[in-house]
C-alpha cells in the first residue's frame, strides 16, 4: 500500500480538489448516462405498449359497432 492513512489518500498530496474533481465528475456523468439511458428505454417501452393497447381496444370497439 502506498498510502499511510485515509486522510493522506483523500488529500492527494494537496491536489485533492483537482484529482477528486476529475474522478468525481467522470463518475457522475457516466453513472448519470446509464440512469438516463435506462429510464429512456423504460419510458419508450411503456408508451409503445400503451399505444398498442389503445389501438387494439379501438379496433375491438370498431368491430362491435359493425352492423
Amino acid at each position: 500500500m502506498i498510502w499511510n492513512s485515509a486522510s493522506e489518500f483523500w488529500a492527494m498530496g494537496g491536489y485533492g480538489l483537482y484529482v477528486w474533481g476529475s474522478f468525481g465528475v467522470t463518475a457522475l456523468l457516466m453513472g448519470g448516462e446509464v440512469i438516463l439511458a435506462a429510464r429512456h428505454h423504460q419510458r419508450t417501452r411503456e408508451s409503445l405498449q400503451m399505444q398498442a393497447t389503445t389501438i387494439g381496444s379501438v379496433q375491438d370497439t370498431a368491430k362491435d359497432w359493425q352492423p
Partner: protein, 252 residues
C-alpha cells in the same frame, strides 16, 4: 457472397440486431466494470506518485481514456456514416445516434479533467492552443451532430445529414492527435506511442490501459443498450416490435 458477410448482413437488420445487442450488452458492461475496478485499484493504490507532478498526475487515469474515447467514438461514427451513405443501411444511422451522446460526454470529460490538470501544472485552466482548441471543436461537432439529427423530422434524412457531418468532421480527429507534434503547444507529447513504446512506469501504464479498456467497453455497452431504444422507436409499427413488447412485458 461468403458466409462471413452473410452473418454481417443478417445482423444489419434492426430486428436481428435488437436481439443481438440485448444479449451482448450485459456481458460487455460487466467486463467494463471489472476492468474499471481493477484499473482504479492499480491507479489509486498501486501506482507510485510521479516524481515531477506528485499525486496530481493521477488525473491521467481518467483524462487519457476519456480523450482517447472521444476520438475513437468519432472515428466509429465516421465509419458507420460511410457505411450508411454507401449501402443505405438503416442501422448505421441509429448506431451513430446511439454513439453521439457518449462521445460528447467523453469530449466534455477530456476538457474538464484537462482543465483540472492544467490549473495546478500549468497555472491555467485553459489556453487556446492547438490540442485544447481542436478537442473543443470535437465537442462542438458532437453537439452539432446531436442537434442536427434531432432537428430533422424524417429519420432517414436526419441520418443522412448527420452522416455527412460525421464524415466531414472526422478530419478533426487526426488534427487533435498530431497537434502536439505539428504545433508548439503547452500540452505534453504522447506518453504512449505505437512507434516508441511508453515513457511511463509499468504500473502507471497498466492502470491507464485498464481504464482505457474499461471506458471502451463502457462505450460499447451503452451504445448497444441505447440502440435498442432507438430501434423500438423507429420500428414501432413492425409486427415483431408488438410481439416483443408483449412477450417481455416491460421487463427490459
Amino acid at each position: 457472397m461468403t458466409r462471413h458477410s452473410n452473418v454481417l448482413f443478417r445482423f444489419a437488420a434492426p430486428q436481428a440486431f435488437y436481439g443481438l445487442a440485448g444479449r451482448l450488452w450485459p456481458w460487455v458492461a460487466a467486463l467494463a466494470t471489472v476492468l474499471g475496478a481493477w484499473g482504479l485499484w492499480m491507479g489509486m493504490f498501486v501506482a507510485p506518485a510521479d516524481f515531477q507532478q506528485g499525486q496530481a498526475y493521477r488525473i491521467i487515469f481518467v483524462h487519457v481514456p476519456a480523450s482517447w474515447m472521444s476520438m475513437i467514438i468519432y472515428l466509429a461514427m465516421a465509419f458507420w456514416a460511410l457505411l450508411g451513405l454507401t449501402f443505405n443501411t438503416r442501422l448505421s444511422g441509429m448506431m451513430n445516434r446511439a454513439l453521439a451522446p457518449t462521445g460528447a460526454m467523453f469530449a466534455f470529460l477530456s476538457l474538464w479533467t484537462g482543465a483540472l490538470w492544467g490549473k495546478p501544472m500549468w497555472g491555467t485552466w485553459w489556453v487556446w492552443d492547438a490540442r485544447l482548441t481542436s478537442e473543443l471543436i470535437l465537442f462542438f461537432l458532437y453537439l452539432g451532430f446531436i442537434g442536427l439529427t434531432a432537428s430533422i423530422d424524417d429519420p432517414r434524412r436526419a441520418d443522412k445529414a448527420g452522416g455527412l457531418l460525421a464524415l466531414v468532421g472526422a478530419i478533426n480527429v487526426p488534427v487533435i492527435y498530431f497537434s502536439v507534434r505539428w504545433w508548439n503547444t503547452l500540452h505534453q507529447g504522447a506518453s504512449v506511442s505505437v512507434t516508441q513504446g511508453s515513457s511511463m512506469a509499468q504500473t502507471m501504464l497498466w492502470a491507464m490501459l485498464l481504464m482505457a479498456m474499461s471506458f471502451w467497453l463502457y462505450a460499447i455497452a451503452i451504445a448497444l443498450y441505447r440502440i435498442r431504444t432507438l430501434i423500438l422507436e423507429r420500428e414501432k409499427h413492425a409486427l415483431w416490435v408488438e410481439a416483443e413488447l408483449r412477450s417481455e412485458g416491460g421487463a427490459s
